[in-house]
């Protein structure tokens, strides 16, 4: 019974902690599946959080309760545009993709905090007045056990995230575009020979990853932090990257990993209130996602194989 109680009180928290990770990890899946390593997910989340919060602060009066949703859209657009920098460097200019990602992260924090100081005169914005609120779904929440776990006191964004994961799976595995994207990530030359525009596909994939990471960052900002500052997104993007790998570059796998990491995060926060976890130092729960990812990569928990051409710039005509 204890386990059920535990799950019942934790599940809403797990769902809202994992939503930003799911969005961002899906972005990572698109980018890496097309062969572009995206260490910049963290920075793209920062830009998303920044755009979401500033839009929310500026337009809450105009749009009322619609504001948080519009904030997500704005965050997606802004982060999508921002990710073009990574695409240009990594795809067109053949830059080292990891380096370019590191630069994205630095630049995002720089621009975000610079503009925050310019516009608000301080390093941290005020709290937003139109955040997402927790909801209880009618009817579904009345189902015994499951109702309390999944449909009471959660944010709509969590369901949207799960929906996006299913859409991402469909796009990647059931559409011609998805096949093209995956083939570009595995063997760009073969794809090119078959008339697929490698550059175009990779640009689209990177921009998609930017948009999704932007939504992820904004979701985090609008449900958890409620304001923007230099420390708002500390490490969420890298944890999403871990979810991509732990989920073996598969959208549904990444979603599962993200939920699992969200679970570990919430355990580290509420774990103290459960008798059998009281003696476990929280540090183990906090580092669990990272250690597990290393173990997964090392093949101790099923082998995680990266897309073959991941991280390799495609140069036409070279072998």
């Amino acid at each position: 019974m204890q386990i059920i109680d535990l799950l019942q009180s934790m599940m809403p928290m797990v769902l809202f902690y994992s939503a930003p990770l799911i969005f961002t990890a899906l972005g990572g899946v698109f980018s890496e599946r097309s062969g572009v390593v995206n260490i910049g997910l963290e920075g793209l989340m920062v830009i998303g959080a920044f755009a979401g919060i500033t839009f929310n602060l500026g337009f809450a009066d105009t749009f009322g309760s619609l504001t948080p949703w519009l904030s997500l859209v704005v965050a997606a657009i802004v982060a999508g545009i921002f990710s073009i920098i990574h695409a240009v460097a990594a795809v067109s200019l053949r830059a080292d993709q990891v380096v370019s990602g590191v630069a994205i992260n630095m630049m995002a924090i720089g621009i975000g905090v610079f503009l925050t100081r310019e516009w608000y005169g301080k390093g941290q914005t005020d709290s937003i007045i139109e955040p997402f609120y927790t909801r209880t779904i009618p009817v579904l929440s009345d189902i015994p056990i499951i109702g309390d776990m999944f449909f009471r006191g959660t944010y709509y964004t969590s369901y949207v995230a799960i929906g996006f994961a299913i859409i991402a799976w469909f796009v990647l595995y059931k559409t011609p575009f998805g096949l093209q994207l995956r083939s570009v990530g595995e063997h760009p030359m073969a794809a090119d020979t078959n008339g697929i525009n490698v550059t175009k596909i990779r640009y689209i994939a990177v921009i998609l990853s930017g948009m999704l990471a932007g939504i992820g960052g904004a979701t985090y900002a609008l449900t958890i932090s409620l304001s923007f500052g230099a420390a708002t997104i500390s490490g969420q993007g890298f944890m999403a990257l871990a979810a991509v790998i732990f989920g073996k570059w598969h959208p549904l796998g990444a979603m599962g990993a993200a939920v699992f990491f969200g679970f570990a995060q919430s355990l580290s926060i509420v774990g103290r209130s459960f008798p059998f976890l009281q003696n476990v130092p929280t540090v183990y729960l906090i580092i669990a996602p990272y250690v597990l990812t290393i173990l997964a990569l090392a093949g101790f928990i099923g082998r995680a194989e990266a897309p073959k051409a991941n991280g390799v710039p495609y140069i036409k005509g070279s072998r």
Binding site: V37, I39, I85, V88, A89, L93, R94, A95, D96, V98, V99, S100, V102, A103, I104, N105, M106, M107, I109, G110, I111, V113, F114, R117, E118, A231, S234, G235, F238, M239, L241, A242, I245, P281, V283, I286, I287, Y290, V291, T293, I294, L297, A298, G299, A306
Partner: protein, 348 residues
């Protein structure tokens, strides 16, 4: 035709200029005077002995993390984990600093050595996993960064202090600071770590350029298969390279623990020394001398930026943007090469 050697000098210089120009454009766009802004930056870095001391203080760990990343690059590895290696080095150095009672001549070197060893151990994990299981070191080191961050916070709270947010200060015998040096530099936080940093830069240059072993490590970086064919143990080289790289970053942590702060506190996020080290190594073309110069540049940019808000009103984050732009241009050196070659052709 331009030679590769010339490009290695042209690309960083052009990138820095482009970065500063982008910074100037941003300042203009937001209604600031870029000359005033950069003047404030210059004065904040070199304006008087105090600021100069602070610039040196900031440069010391950057040289070392830069060397860490550069060494890894030269041997065909990407160490994005300097961030975590800095933490384990910092914690270990402070641990030695507070728990032993030794004469300075032993205490200080011991603390630095233990930090180097801790960093090397943290570098061993990705090196070992790459050598034996073919796991890419980038992801492993990123994951280890967070593991190091949270584990060191745990150690600070539960082992090195009684639930506090920082440890007690280290013993004087393990300190890199001396009253005389601080006084000379206007009571800044400058410390003798710059000697350590320069020694390490010389050591890396010597190891890589002047010894057979260094040549072997580089050979693995150039071409694993050829190195293997030549009888070099590739696996061992990868592990050793990653450990040496980690040791450099561990020493960078020791500089913070024994010089700048003389204790360690719990961190909410990274110090960014490791990520900046990537920028330093790239700009320095992965050489010891280049990295040291690049570290001085970034050190002065970072320290100088703190004077920008009071003197010119420009938010200090401008410098972060400038540094990121510089990295972009260095990383995209293909663009600079292409443009220069075009210009060359045009002349003919």
């Amino acid at each position: 035709m331009f030679s590769n050697r010339l490009f290695n000098i042209v690309v960083p210089i052009v990138s820095v200029l482009l970065g500063l120009i982008v910074g100037a454009i941003i300042m203009l766009f937001f209604g600031y005077n870029p000359i005033e802004g950069y003047l404030a930056l210059w004065n904040g870095a070199f304006g008087n002995m105090y600021f100069f001391g602070e610039t040196i203080r900031q440069t010391i760990p950057l040289i070392l993390t830069g060397l860490a990343v550069a060494f890894a690059f030269r041997t065909g590895l990407f160490n994005i984990g300097a961030e975590g290696q800095v933490f384990v080095g910092w914690v270990s150095a402070v641990w030695v600093g507070i728990s032993f009672d030794l004469p300075a001549i032993i205490h200080l070197p011991l603390a630095i050595l233990v930090a180097a060893f801790a960093g090397a151990l943290w570098g061993f994990i990705p090196g070992f996993l790459k050598a034996t299981r073919g796991v890419h070191e980038v992801i492993v080191t990123i994951m280890l960064n967070y593991t190091a961050l949270y584990s060191s916070n745990y150690l600070i709270r539960n082992v090195l202090s009684e639930g506090g947010d920082r440890t007690e200060p280290i013993a004087e015998t393990a300190s890199l600071r001396t009253a005389w040096l601080s006084e000379t530099f206007g009571y800044s936080q400058v410390h003798w770590g710059f000697v350590v940093a320069i020694l390490m830069a010389v050591l890396m240059w010597f190891l890589l350029e002047k010894t057979t072993y260094g040549y072997e490590l580089r050979a693995v970086g150039f071409n694993e298969h050829a190195a293997n064919y030549a009888g070099i143990s590739v696996k061992k080289s990868i592990i050793v390279s990653m450990m040496i790289s980690g040791a450099f970053a561990g020493i960078a942590g020791a500089m913070e623990g024994l010089g700048t702060f003389r204790y360690i506190y719990t961190h909410a996020s990274f110090t960014n020394l490791g990520f900046d080290g990537i920028a330093v190594a790239l700009l320095g073309a992965n050489t010891a001398l280049g990295s040291s110069l690049a570290a001085l540049l970034f050190g002065s940019l970072k320290v100088g930026s703190l004077r920008m808000p009071p003197l010119s009103g420009v938010p200090s984050e401008l410098v972060e943007i400038v540094i990121a732009v510089i990295i972009f241009f260095v990383a995209s050196s293909y663009l600079i090469r292409w443009v220069t070659l075009r210009l060359k052709k045009g002349e003919k």
